[in-house]
Point group: D3
Chain length 147, copies 6
């Protein structure tokens, strides 16, 4: 569960893929309950039939939650999230779609405090048709081994 992966140990362009997860009607109903967002796009099947996408779609914040959650496989004790950039929802996720996440080390750069470096992970969420449904950059502040 706990690892120590230092800045020097992140390899540019290396990537990993998470396990998959089917997005269910239950997830959407629970997410409406957690977020308080009961917009008809997510909760009103009849209204959705009148819209271009024809059926209920997952909340963007649900896809972000599940996507980032899938990447949380271990705790890197020498890293912390600095923030996220360029978060985009590129395609709707429907009930029954199965998503999987690819994380790629996209950039390594200096940070104003020299004992840390900045890692940019590209996070891409794909559905079962290998279509990109969400992407963002995850910025991590990581300790350097040799300071």
């Amino acid at each position: 569960m706990f690892i120590k992966q230092y800045f020097e140990e992140f390899e540019l362009n290396s990537s990993r893929t998470t396990k998959g997860r089917t997005v269910t009607e239950t997830d959407i109903v629970l997410h409406a309950g957690q977020s308080g967002d009961f917009f008809p796009h997510h909760m009103d099947e009849e209204w959705c039939k009148t819209q271009p996408f024809k059926q209920r779609i997952a909340h963007g914040t649900l896809i972000f939650t599940i996507g980032i959650g899938l990447t949380a496989e271990w705790v890197n004790e020498v890293a912390m999230t600095y923030g996220y950039e360029r978060l985009r929802f590129t395609r709707p996720v429907f009930i029954g779609d199965t998503v999987k996440v690819t994380v790629t080390i996209k950039e390594k750069s200096d940070y104003r405090k020299p004992e840390y470096g900045l890692i940019t992970e590209k996070v891409e969420v794909f559905n079962q048709h290998q279509e990109l449904v969400m992407l963002c950059d995850h910025l991590l502040l990581v300790s350097r081994k040799e300071k």
Copy 2:
């Protein structure tokens, strides 16, 4: 519930503040269950006592979910989310903290399709001590009234 607010009708620097919401232990437990992220930062009170923050903290994705959820007060039929930028979690949110969101129209700009404009909303989540706990830019693609 449904409104039509066109690009021309967004007033630069205008802002609104949402209702508040107390972040509970229940929210964190449900969010672990939804995200699959059972990291000890959120779920292990004993381990947290050994850490600088001394107690369980809310998931970043939970604060994003609640924060964006609080802003979902009506459906603007002529707008759609384009994405989010510069998402930062500036302070931990603890069990029992109450958050509230301020949304400010920060920028209006052209979009490559001339019938739309791009609105940048600054989203700021504050706790009960008026401390900023999360911020991001929400980009919206909005139809122009006069095309």
Copy 3:
């Protein structure tokens, strides 16, 4: 979110319709868990097949919860619920039905404390076939503007 609508400002026979919401299997399972009512009408698909309605039906208390919840669009700071009358469940609600609520100002009357008046709202819940599935009278105690 907060408004002030005084007794004098309620217009007899005026009505509003809420957004819609699809009643899901998830809602029924969560409601069994919240109410503790695991009767086979709601939880045992095989038993339901032997009954006149042939499939699982939503709890009455779930339809009341969702119906009244849909009407909770803003807080009227000068009104409070006095009670409910004539609550009836006129048709079963099945998994996948979408409900919507109409609220009509049915009666305005004096209250024993002269600074308040009593408003009776007729609350009607309809399914996607425009069939009435629940109705009740919601009694509100509302401050008078001119006392």
Copy 4:
């Protein structure tokens, strides 16, 4: 679980008391999620501190759900709910209160279809201080044994 209690077998003025149940913060958070009612009375501890009741209170629909749920101890195969009358919330229910329900057979009357009779149960929900927090009349249509 299944019993057959006919109209003739309901004894006027007889009563039963259910088991008790503590109303938790979790119940309120889950009920907000189920009903979509995120009013600050239930969800914003800071706002509640500025109000007469000083703390978060349970939704009326939650107390109705829990109260009626507690009475659902067996299925009477020859009875069905006709409706509810005179539903009143007489005192706020706070987080940590424990409620218990007393059901009293208050009235037996004829119904327009002679093979049924109408039973009126008085349903009273009490907190741990034996204070009444909710009451209503539950109307039941019950088959007569001798038709």
Copy 5:
């Protein structure tokens, strides 16, 4: 809700059958959230299609939870659970299966404290095809009437 059934009153080979319950997708999603077990067997429909059972299956701990829960119809004030033996999951439970439990008094034996006796209940969970999906022995320590 509360009964007193003493050791002497348990009749060997007597049995009871509980009410039934349909195992839903919601139950599985909630159970993943409660257990933290997001294995693809339960959560990834696409991966399951590549496996012998072809679809998502319920967690063993979910079937144990629902099975034992179905037997919890009353509190025997003079008995307490001593433990469980020989717990086996004999067949997968799929979304939509309906389970029901049979409890049989299989053995009565002395306990080292003479004021108690040990009851062994055989707990068998069946699906809607009367196939056994789970079984175990439930050991109960029960007070003797005549000590």
Copy 6:
């Protein structure tokens, strides 16, 4: 997530300890909702005050669910659960207790099909005072590398 650990590779007496998890009031309320077990031991704080343990306690099936869930850290593709033996709940778990699980390889034995072997894992759940609260033997059927 996926590993292949063959029968020969299990080392007798080796052990691992999982991450910890705080058992919350939310877990108990959700577990009542999932199991349908609303016994006062778990749900009625006032009644619990009259009992030897003085406060609400977690369901046995909840501790089994959380305990086994904590051990589910990866999928061993060449192993499957055969069953559980000697499941005992040795101490009550209270709201706010933090549990952690130790798994020890206790026995390796032949199975009637020679291509498999039987592994017995001793599963012990401890609270934050290092007191044992649950234990059982987990039987696994594991493929042999050399058949």
